[in-house]
């Protein structure tokens, strides 16, 4: 089956810093999403981005489908950005999540 990797596994930042999270996948996909999981376990949709670049406020994402990776950029990080960030890829009718990046933003 398809393999999904995320890096780094853990990231600690000072408030105001910028960061880049990476998602690599081993095969062609028809869907890619980035999620933020809050402390209560809710998965919040950040981006639906099978290809190209999107921006939403301080967050932006880029997927290069031909090279099988996606990047999530967080600028001017805030303490409320803390949590786990997952990428999930879809192929056919199935979805596979990466292992996540745990982000801690310190005040």
């Amino acid at each position: 089956g398809i393999q999904v990797e995320q890096s780094p596994p853990d990231l600690i930042l000072q408030e105001g810093a910028n960061s880049t999270l990476r998602c690599n996948f081993s095969d062609s996909v028809n869907n890619l999403q980035w999620f933020h999981q809050n402390p209560w376990g809710q998965l919040i949709n950040l981006f639906y981005i099978p290809s190209g670049t999107k921006q939403n406020g301080r967050l932006s994402a880029t997927t290069v489908a031909t090279e099988r990776y996606s990047l999530l950029y967080i600028s001017s990080s805030q303490t409320t950005d803390s949590g786990v960030y997952f990428c999930a890829v879809g192929y056919g009718q199935n979805f596979v999540f990466g292992p996540g990046t745990r982000l801690s933003v310190l005040p």
Partner: protein, 119 residues
């Protein structure tokens, strides 16, 4: 607002006692998914319904069953919960982006989850 609702948010059951988790949606999406997420792990797909077609992941235990009586509702039944089934259970929906034999998935939307404790 259109949304995905899961009830209950917290469920406590006893070892071996059947339990049912429910999910409803007002998005009118034709695909519904159930995921299991254990502590410090990624969500893992258990099964999904494409309309009324049930699709089971190969490694989903037989202890887990699902029902979808209509478009809006989907249930997860755990017939004999074990201690290893304690987890967060997440329901998600999406609208099919393909058709016919070329089914593929569009953006997923998740409910808040049900946290299951097994005593």
């Amino acid at each position: 607002d259109a949304m995905v609702i899961q009830n209950p948010r917290y469920q406590v059951t006893q070892f071996g006692k059947p339990v049912t988790l429910s999910c409803s949606q007002t998005l009118n999406h034709n695909v519904m998914y159930w995921y299991q997420q254990k502590s410090s792990q990624a969500p893992k797909l258990l099964f999904h319904y494409y309309d009324k077609d049930f699709n089971n992941e190969a490694d989903t235990p037989d202890n887990f069953q699902s029902r979808r009586p209509n478009t809006s509702f989907c249930f997860l039944d755990i017939r004999s919960p074990g201690l290893g089934d304690a987890a967060m259970y997440l329901c998600a929906t999406s609208r099919d982006a393909g058709g016919g034999t070329s089914r593929r998935n569009n953006e997923q939307f998740f409910g808040p989850g049900t946290r299951l404790t097994v005593l």
